[in-house]
């Protein structure tokens, strides 16, 4: 009971946190500190609630009647909810602190107050939806979140690019909600025909999910939740939204907001008593597609935050892979696959929140200091922003799944699940046999991509004057990043502790009726992986320290630049750019990525100076959706007269529809 009340408190406080600011003038601090304090209190409440629910044992449902048809004010913090609540609390709380220095009211009198009001609202919406036990309440939280996120994405709505982004986002989120409305309608219909009543309480979902309509419900959920999660090919809104939002909003969106889609799928599959195997295959297939194409599109990007956004697509793919393995395990009665797949999937949800939050905040620090997001205009920032560069490096190593950090642990679980599937002698071997090498490819591509970004932005010489006066950000921005980096290290080096929490969540997913699953630590080497990682870290630190000491003792203070094969006047623009780094990889998959390249025309023996530019647009958006929408616009043009913008006539339509529906009943 205590967890539920704490979450309710957190929802109320965060929903109201930005409101006092509206009452104070634009100029001046506009109660920024009050907002940050309120968000901190809300975050602490939610985090305590989650920890109590995870480690404290029993949770109890809190419910009150609600006159909405099919609705009930029912919430409960079980282990699955707790996992998401904890993450929302962490990122929303840290983001609020970061915003204090990143988006201060004095620099943003126009949109600072709006940003804070809706930042609180988005947090409240997310917290509400992950603890809701009723479909209607879930949708209410979902819509608060989706609509507030629209305002956040279009914070700088005086810029045309931001307005376009907001438009694309609101279209996508409406499409997703449409799928969810249909899904809940089917859940209600199937539930009532199965004798469970039309109430959308989650206790009644299993009956609906095992009815003949179950497959349709799953497909609608996959589309609706997949759109929010940004799974390929439903990711079209995600890159530009993450790129154009303020960085701490990007961190919250990428770290937790898109995960609400994952939450929906995890919840849906947890309530399906015996899902058909094809659900698992579908999830694995979407996972492979998202993972491989997400990272490959990322490699082609020039915009730092857009690149990170495509990596969200990639990581959602990894999460889908794990979830797919778990669903396969459930449907084929393999509890080992359930444990490994689900633990990998959910830990990756967590890990992605940690390292992607960190990377977006670090990218924000770069943007803050240099005023540009273009990777090829940056360079050499590691000497001007040493702390930011170290923190970005931690995030980069973590997101590639490399030891000794957290990405390795969750990917290891997913790999073990995939390998167990691949070595089985029934139909699911194919899922594992394609999934594991695909995951390996994703890992290697991520290394290529992040070493490219880290090298181009932080190493070498500055490529333009943008970063010449850059310096590390203030403490409110640095400390949240450091906390997230410490989280990455903790999960990597403390995997045994984390696995205990995961056992609780897995048990909640399996449900009380089934026989208990084996412990994660009995199948995955959680102690070994942390111990080996720690050993590796020690050796690396000692060896680096020895080399640095040797270099200090023997080398004179560096006086000259890089040798560069004897070229006398090297310029910073001669450095390999991130685009040249990526060129060969892009060329390998050009038939999917469709890069647009504009080479200069060189004529004569001594051609004049020319310019070269290239970029990788979003294939799904530009080549599939936009043309098909154009076609639809042409075909549906005849219906345009009924779309006239007159409010009273719209109300008449609704009234008429209602009458027709009542008569039809």
């Amino acid at each position: 009971m205590v967890s539920e009340w704490l979450v309710v408190t957190a929802v109320v406080i965060s929903a109201l946190s930005g409101v006092p600011g509206l009452l104070s003038p634009r100029q001046g601090p506009a109660r920024e500190r009050l907002f940050t304090g309120a968000m901190t209190v809300a975050a602490v409440c939610a985090a305590v609630a989650a920890l109590v629910a995870l480690f404290g044992g029993t949770s109890q449902e809190l419910s009150a009647p609600w006159p909405v048809p099919g609705g009930q004010l029912a919430i409960r913090v079980d282990a699955i909810s707790a996992m998401f609540v904890l993450q929302i609390a962490l990122l929303a709380g840290l983001g609020a602190w970061y915003g204090l220095a990143y988006w201060p009211q004095r620099d943003h009198p126009r949109d600072g107050r709006k940003l804070r009001v809706f930042y609180g609202a988005v947090t409240a919406g997310m917290l509400l939806l992950v603890v809701a036990r009723n479909g209607i309440l879930f949708l209410a939280g979902w819509e608060v979140m989706a609509a507030s996120a629209f305002v956040l994405v279009s914070t700088e709505d005086h810029l045309p690019a931001v307005r376009d982004t907001g438009y694309l986002y609101i279209l996508s989120t409406r499409a997703g909600t449409l799928c969810l409305f249909a899904m809940f309608a089917l859940l209600g219909a199937a539930g009532s025909s199965a004798g469970a009543g039309a109430d959308l309480h989650m206790d009644r979902w299993p009956a609906a999910l095992s009815s003949p309509l179950g497959d349709a419900i799953f497909v609608l959920g996959l589309c609706g939740f997949g759109l929010k999660a940004g799974a390929m090919p439903l990711h079209v809104w995600l890159p530009s939204a993450h790129a154009n939002a303020p960085s701490h909003v990007s961190a919250v969106m990428s770290g937790v907001l898109i995960k609400t889609g994952i939450y929906g799928l995890v919840r849906l599959t947890s309530l399906a008593p015996s899902p058909p195997a094809w659900w698992g295959y579908a999830l694995v297939a979407v996972g492979i597609l998202s993972g491989v194409l997400g990272v490959w599109f990322a490699i082609g990007q020039h915009d730092l935050k857009r690149l990170l956004a495509y990596h969200s697509v990639e990581n959602i793919g990894i999460i889908f892979l794990g979830l797919g393995v778990a669903v396969l395990g459930r449907s084929l009665g393999r509890s080992d696959l359930v444990v490994l797949g689900l633990a990998g999937s959910l830990l990756h949800v967590w890990n992605h929140g940690l390292f992607k939050g960190l990377l977006f905040l670090a990218a924000g620090a770069v943007v803050h200091a240099t005023g540009t997001r273009q990777i090829d205009r940056l360079g050499g920032l590691s000497r001007r922003m040493p702390r930011t560069s170290l923190l970005f490096l931690v995030g980069a190593v973590a997101i590639c799944g490399l030891p000794p950090l957290n990405g390795l642990v969750s990917e290891l679980f997913v790999y073990l699940g995939l390998f167990r599937a691949a070595t089985s002698h029934d139909g699911m071997w194919l899922a594992g046999a394609l999934g594991a090498p695909a995951l390996a490819l994703v890992g290697a591509l991520a290394v290529a991509c992040f070493v490219k970004v880290f090298g181009a932005v932080f190493l070498g010489e500055p490529r333009s004057a943008d970063g010449a006066n850059a310096h590390d950000p203030e403490r409110p921005m640095l400390v949240p990043m450091a906390i997230l980096a410490a989280g990455c290290a903790f999960v990597g080096l403390g995997a045994p502790v984390v696995s205990m929490a995961l056992d609780v969540v897995v048990a909640a997913w399996i449900g009380p009726g089934a026989r208990s699953a084996p412990a994660l630590s009995s199948m995955a080497p959680v102690v070994w992986i942390s111990a080996t990682s720690a050993g590796l870290l020690v050796v690396i630190v000692l060896l680096t320290w020895w080399l640095v000491r040797r270099a200090r003792s023997t080398a004179a203070e560096p006086a000259v630049g890089t040798w560069d094969c004897g070229y006398a006047a090297p310029s910073a623009r001669m450095q390999y750019t991130s685009s040249s780094f990526a060129e060969r990889l892009i060329a390998l998959l050009a038939f999917v990525l469709r890069p647009s390249v504009h080479p200069p025309k060189l004529e004569g023996l001594f051609p004049e100076s020319g310019s070269f530019h290239s970029h990788v647009p979003d294939t799904v958006l530009d080549r599939v959706l936009v043309p098909s929408f154009r076609l639809a616009a042409r075909l549906l043009g005849r219906l345009r007269p009924i779309q006239h913008g007159k409010l009273h006539l719209y109300l008449l339509y609704i009234f008429g529809t209602l009458i027709v529906l009542l008569l039809w009943r």
């Binding site: 390996a440 890992g443 290394v447 190493l459 070498g460 080497p525 050796v539 560096p558 450095q575």
Partner: protein, 307 residues
């Protein structure tokens, strides 16, 4: 843990630390033989390392600590991978279910920092090398994991020490075709990952065509020694993986197995030297094609096991 087990672990460690430069010596001697030269002495790589360790360090003012961390991480991660691979049929000192993931990802960490150190110099040539290294590694990774799938499926284990240790003898009698496919594929990966002809020429003199060597152009003295030692150890690790699959050590006398392993390592070095001597370098665009082909050969192996 018995005394014998400790002794085997110590031998494992000693071989990992001491043998790699000798492999390079054997490769060079073989190439010299084919070229009709006397060639450097077999132990020359050890002398080279000693010489480099005694030298000073020259740093560019562009570089940061990453420049020195690159070689260190490269060596440390290769050493970590070496502790996971069973040598001569003896279980590795560090072994657990899923250690093959750590094996691949530790090498990935080494690659990350090696390429970062190259980019740290701000030199276009080193960026070029780094890009190639990262690109080709992406294509080699699926080949490695398809191979791991074959081993895991035919051995029923998820630990390197079993799937390329005790279980291999039995696997050759049940799934020899798949194992052969993996061997072919992994030999290609060995050549590519270790910058050997036909993928890369360790002795070339044109920076534009190099892959690995160009990334370390600006390193000298002790950092270069660490890089060369790490590169030799990487050849040793990949060689050990191939030998473990090709020559299952189970059933023989455990002490004799060590001698067989050392002999096989040197023989493999000769084979690498022969390949380097009789083949020409591939054009860079073809490297990708060959690596994709290697991945597909491994995948064929995986398909062969389905029944």
């Amino acid at each position: 843990m018995t005394v014998i087990a400790v002794a085997h672990a110590v031998i494992h460690l000693l071989l990992v630390l001491a043998l790699p430069p000798l492999m390079i010596g054997v490769v060079n001697k073989t190439k010299a033989f084919f070229a009709g030269r006397a060639g450097p002495p077999l132990l020359q790589p050890y002398h080279d390392l000693a010489k480099l360790l005694g030298k000073g360090v020259v740093l560019s003012k562009t570089t940061s600590w990453i420049f020195l961390a690159g070689p260190a991480v490269g060596l440390a991660t290769t050493f970590c991978a070496a502790l996971l691979v069973p040598l001569g049929g003896h279980a590795a000192p560090v072994r657990f279910d899923g250690d093959f993931v750590l094996f691949a990802y530790a090498l990935g960490l080494g690659r990350f920092f090696t390429v970062a150190a190259a980019l740290d110099t701000g030199s276009a040539f080193e960026g070029m090398g780094g890009a190639r290294e990262a690109t080709f590694a992406c294509l080699a990774e699926p080949a490695v994991f398809f191979g791991m799938l074959v081993l895991a499926r035919s051995s029923g284990s998820y630990s390197l020490s079993v799937m390329m240790g005790q279980a291999v003898t039995a696997m050759w009698s049940t799934s020899s075709a798949a194992l052969a496919a993996v061997l072919v594929s992994w030999f290609v990966v060995l050549l590519a990952e270790n910058s050997r002809i036909p993928f890369d020429d360790p002795n070339t003199h044109l920076e534009l065509t190099m892959i690995h060597e160009v990334m370390v152009l600006d390193h000298g003295g002790p950092p270069l020694a660490v890089i060369l030692y790490g590169a030799a150890m990487k050849l040793f690790v990949f060689g050990a993986v191939l030998i473990a699959v090709a020559l299952p050590g189970a059933g023989r006398d455990p002490w004799l197995a060590w001698a067989v392993f050392v002999g096989a390592t040197l023989l493999l070095s000769v084979v690498v030297g022969v390949v380097e001597s009789v083949m020409a370098r591939l054009r860079l665009p073809q490297v990708a094609n060959i690596l994709i082909a290697a991945g597909l050969i491994s995948a064929f192996g995986a398909v062969l096991l389905v029944r």
